[in-house]
């Protein structure tokens, strides 16, 4: 298992497009940090919440919060693209290039190969998010400093505030990184499943990203009620209350369960189908 994991990891990382993607993920957080720094006006984009203002506003008080702001922006679309690309391309990319048949002829067990591919996809997504957060942290601390913050929030008609030290912020940023990274588990399951259905990587990537976008659209339709709770994107922003409300929302725990459920269903479907599909590419 370790052998095929290692092989798949080297193959996935040692590609020009992966390196370009990494470059983009390093540059963009810096650009966003500079943008926050340059615009002292209303910089809030997402992640509003309590009366203390959004993450962007808070980020001006402490650079430690910049990774959270950047992840709030990225997790809506850019990271979906990255994760969709990695997972969607995992099987279909090998299939279209012809590499898949030679791996299977080695022979490598199909189940083992697919588990390796899903593991590599998850690892790459985690690494991408850690890289984004790390770059944002360095840029943030350089521009805004390593500071504690006081966040105001409304409770009924009362305005209160809470204090978060730089150390508290760092711990919560680390939890954010882990939660956001874990939030792409469902996408890896869906993307890998779609990737086993086709020999066209672009089709698999589009389908995986498309499913996530549809999920976001459905999530915006409040009339759907509790059905929205089962959507893979519904709880993606649940971590933001750690910074805006000083609470660890139970939605985070539900979000993790939803991710696992999607992975079990679609990852299982991918394994089932891949074990018996005809390899014609």
């Amino acid at each position: 298992m370790i052998a095929v994991l290692r092989t798949e990891f080297i193959k996935a990382t040692w590609r020009l497009r992966t390196l370009l993607m990494v470059l983009g993920l390093v540059v963009l957080p810096v650009v966003i940090a500079v943008a926050i720094h340059s615009h002292s006006g209303n910089g809030e984009r997402r992640g509003g919440g309590g009366g203390g203002g959004g993450l962007f506003t808070l980020s001006r008080s402490s650079g430690v919060l910049v990774p959270a702001s950047v992840l709030a922006v990225f997790s809506g679309f850019l990271l979906v693209l990255v994760a969709g690309f990695i997972a969607g391309d995992s099987v279909a990319g090998d299939s279209s290039s012809g590499n898949l048949r030679y791996l299977l002829l080695r022979p490598v067990s199909r189940t083992r190969l697919l588990i390796a591919k899903m593991s590599v996809s998850l690892t790459l997504i985690w690494l991408s998010i850690v890289l984004v957060a790390l770059t944002a942290l360095i840029a943030g601390v350089a521009l805004f400093g390593w500071n504690a913050i006081d966040v105001g929030r409304t409770s009924g008609t009362t305005l209160t505030s809470f204090h978060l030290s730089a150390g508290d912020l760092l711990v919560r940023v680390l939890i954010t990184v882990a939660y956001v990274a874990f939030g792409f588990t469902a996408l890896v399951g869906v993307g890998t499943f779609v990737s086993t259905l086709t020999d066209t990587p672009a089709g698999a990537v589009s389908a995986a990203v498309g499913i996530y976008i549809v999920s976001q659209v459905l999530d915006a339709i409040t009339d759907l009620g509790s059905i929205r709770n089962a959507l893979p994107t519904h709880y993606l922003d649940a971590w933001q209350t750690m910074f805006t409300q000083n609470t660890f929302s139970t939605d985070m725990r539900i979000g993790i369960i939803v991710q696992v459920a999607w992975m079990v269903v679609f990852g299982g479907a991918a394994l089932w189908w891949f074990a018996r599909k005809d390899i014609r590419s």
């Binding site: 092989t7 040692w14 030679y102 299977l104 022979p107």
Partner: protein, 326 residues
Amino acid sequence: MSTQPAASTGLRLRLRPIPSVALVSQSIVEITSLTKKFKGVTAVDDLSFRVEPGQVCGLLGPNGAGKTTTLRMLVGLINPTAGSAKLFGQTVRPGAPELLRVGALVEQAAFAPNLSGMANLRLWWQAGGGRLADADLEGALAVAGLGDAVNRKVKGYSQGMKQRLGFARLLLARPDFLILDEPTNGLDPGEIKEIRELVRRISETGSSVLLSSHHLSEVEQTCSHVVVMDKGRLVTAGTVDSIISASGIVLIEVDDVDAATLVLSALPSVNGLTHEGNMLHITMTSGRRSDLVKQLVDAGVRVETVGASQSLEDAFLGLLDEGTSR
């Protein structure tokens, strides 16, 4: 020039649905009633044949005959709809351990383009969990003959170089049996010559080979045995020589054409006879060439040379025509 009616049925008499070319304990390949349907389209239809140890067997057929589908079922990439494909006596399943003894080149060789040839070989070998020290890296590279190019990125390789690297990869495990699916497809004439030479060198080491091709000259030059497929079905199988001679035209050079014509015309096994100079073109319905020679010699005709007039190409086209008209 004298002419007699041409034979039309001689070939059919010699067709053998399931060849048993050699009597040995275990066939390397044993395909029995193999059938594959894709959404109602039958790609391989009730196919049966064997490959015995030491044979270099050509799988011959026009494009769309079902050769690649057959080979993919033989290595567990495609699941049969019915029938069975066995390697070394064991029914093939995806990832079957028997594949460790098989080196397969299925259509074009494929690699990770951003890695060097050597890195690709290493990665492929290690993906199976093997130690690189156990691979015949040196031998494989020597056969492939890539030289220093093996350390360059594969994306800079010509198609021929990729195919040679593909050969190196399949030789890493010192396979007992090679499956080569159209190994010269898409190559230029120089590269085709190199690959054919490579196959010849490999077969000389004693490995058995199953080589699919629609290039008749490739099979004729490389293979000892041939299985002919068309529209998913077996047309015939046997040694290359038997297929060629089964098409029935024999060339015999004699000193006295008139006397020879008289003798041969009287034989029931001769169905047609023409000549160019002293060379007789004889169409046989049955029997052996040696019988003709004996009859001529007994009649006092001096025989200078004996041979088959046809190439495998003529025989192959004849077989396909016959299959169509049936």
